[in-house]
Symmetry: C2
Subunit: 339 residues, 2 copies
Amino acid sequence: MSASKGGKSPTMDDVAREAGVSRALVSIALRGANGVSDSSRAHILKVAKRMGYRPNAVAARLASKTSLTVGVFLLDLYNYVFADIYEGIRSVISNSGRHIVLAIGSADATRDVEAMESLLESRVGVVIAAGLQLPDREVQRFARATPLVSTTRAVPGIDSALCDDQAGAQLAVSHLHALGHRRIAHLASPQRDGYQGRRRGYQAAMADRGLAPLVVEVEYTQAAAAEATTRLLALAEPPSAIFANNDVAALGVMDALDAGGLVVGEDVSVVGYDNTPVAQLPAVSLTSVDQHTALLGRNAAELALRRAARPDEAIEHRTSQPELVVRRSSRPPRFGPRT
Amino acid sequence: MSASKGGKSPTMDDVAREAGVSRALVSIALRGANGVSDSSRAHILKVAKRMGYRPNAVAARLASKTSLTVGVFLLDLYNYVFADIYEGIRSVISNSGRHIVLAIGSADATRDVEAMESLLESRVGVVIAAGLQLPDREVQRFARATPLVSTTRAVPGIDSALCDDQAGAQLAVSHLHALGHRRIAHLASPQRDGYQGRRRGYQAAMADRGLAPLVVEVEYTQAAAAEATTRLLALAEPPSAIFANNDVAALGVMDALDAGGLVVGEDVSVVGYDNTPVAQLPAVSLTSVDQHTALLGRNAAELALRRAARPDEAIEHRTSQPELVVRRSSRPPRFGPRT
DNA sequence: TTGTACGCGTTATCAA
DNA sequence: TTGATAACGCGTACAA
C-alpha cells in the first residue's frame, strides 16, 4: 500500500517502481502508443489504476514537442451563439484525443488581448477564435505566434469557418421588404472589428431596392442595443423595422420597444441574427437568420486540426449558407408600404 | 537581432543571454519578485519586451510548488447562471494575479467526471465547482485530491458558497399561495445530485399550508422540462401553477404551455429560479427567485483563495439570502382558490 | 520489447 | 544583489 500518502498524487516514477518496469514503458503504455507487450501493458495499467495515478497534463505538455491542446476564445458567456460554437468544436476535438483550453473575453472587448495572451502562454498548438473584436492587424499578429482559425469572422490570410453574412443580411432585408417595410434600420457591430459582412449585406440590399440605409453602431450588449433603439424611435421618421446584427442586440431592441409602449411585430418588426435558443422561445418568437452555429464550430475545429497537422497548407475559408427563420417578430407594417 | 527566428518564441535563457545576466535573475525580474536592483530589472524587462518574450505558463506551473491557477467547473454554457457565476469568480480571481482554467460539463451529467479530471490533470491549486451533478461521495473524492469549493450546492465537508435554497423555494410557494393557487407543482432536479434544497423548501412550504405536493423530476434541459410539463397538464387535475427549479426549466414549462394553447400567467402561473437575463426579457417576464448569482461567484472565489492559502482552516459554508422578483408569469388563478 | 539518458522552460535553493 | 544548479514530471530518440 504505497498509494496516496502525503496527499501528493503519484508520478510515473512511482508507478514504474511499483510495477517493476522503467518509466519510459509506463509512459508508452499509458498513452496507448505501441511498443509494449500486451501483457506488461495490462499490468502497468492495473498498477496505475490501483495507485490512483493521474497523468500530469502540465508536465506532458512541457515535454512533448507537438502540443495536442487547442485553445478556444469565446467573446463572452452571455450569448448562446458561443455555447453552440463551443459544442461544435468540442464534438470534433474531444474524439480526436485532444484537450481544449478556454479563454473568455468580454462584450466591451477590453479582455480580448489578455485572453488571447493566456492561450499563447499556455502554449496551445492552435487556437480557434470566436468573437474576437481586435482589428485584423492584431489578429494577424497573434496568428504569427500560433496557428489561428477564426470563426464567424473573416480575417485576411487566416483560416476561417464562416457563414455568408452578406447573404444572411440580404435575406433579412428582403424578408422585411417583402412584408412591406420601407424604413428599415440596422444595428451594426462596431467598425473597429471585422464583422462588417452583415452591414455590407444590409447596405447592398437596401440600395438594390432604392431604400435609404439607416445604420447605428452598437457594442455587443443588450443594453447598448436598447439604448440605440430608443434613439431610433425618437427620430422624426422612426423605422418600421429593425434588423439587428445578432439576437442579443435584437433582444435589446425588444426591450426598448416594450419600454416605449410599442408592440413587437405590430408597431415595429424585429429581425435578429444567429437563431439562438432564446429567439425560439414562444414568448420571444424572434425572426432570425440561422447561420448554423454548431456547424461553424465543427468546421473551425476541423480546420484547426488540419492546420496543426500541416502548418504549410494553403489558407482555407470554409463558408456555409445562412437560412432565415420567420417568426412573429416580423409582420407587415401597421400602415402598409408608404412608397 | 536574435528575436523571433524560426517561429519559436524566445525562452528565458534567450533573454538572459541577450541581457547578459543569469536566467534566475530574469525569472525574478519578470515575476516582479524582489531580489533585483531596479537598474538591472529595467534592463531585463526592456530586453524581454524587445525580443517579444512570452512567459511559458506550462513550464511555470510545472516548476512552481504553489499552483496559482484556479480551476472552474461549469455545468454547461446554456444557462446564464453560469455566466454570472463565472463573472463573479473572475472579478476576484483576476485581480489576485491568478489564472483561471475552465472545464465545461453537460446538462446530462455525462461529462462531469471527464471535466473534473481535466482540471486535476492540469494540476490546478483549487477548483470551484458550479453545477456538479455527481453524488456527494464522488465530489468528496475529488476534494481529497484537490481543495474544492462548491457553489449553489452544499456538500458535507466541503467549502461552499450558497444561497438559502429552502428559503427561496418557500418564497416561491408563498407567493403563489398568496395569489390564490392551491395546486402547485414543482419541477425538481434529479435525485442523484445534491440540489435538493429547493425541493425540500417546496415540500415544507406546501405542508405548512396543508397542500399536497406534486413533484416531477427533470434533467437540466429546457426540453426535459417541457416534456414533464406536458405530462402534468394531462393529469386529471392539472396544476394551476408550476414552480421550476431554475429558469431554464421554467422556459421549458412556458414552451409546453404555449404548445398546449395555454397562456402563461393566465391559464397557468410559472415561477423560475435564478432570475437570469432571459427571465427579465419583457416578452418572457418570468417571476423568479434571485439568488444573487454573481455574489455566489465572488464568495466562492474568496473561499477558494482562502483555502488555497490555508488548507487546514475549518470548512466554511457562506450563505446568502434569496429574493423573489415578481413578474407577469405569476398571477391569480383563473377561477380563484378552489378549496 | 524494454531501458537509458537527455531535454522541455521554469521555479527555487544555496553559495558567492 | 547575483548566479550556478538541482528539481518539476514527463516525452522521446536511441541503445540494449
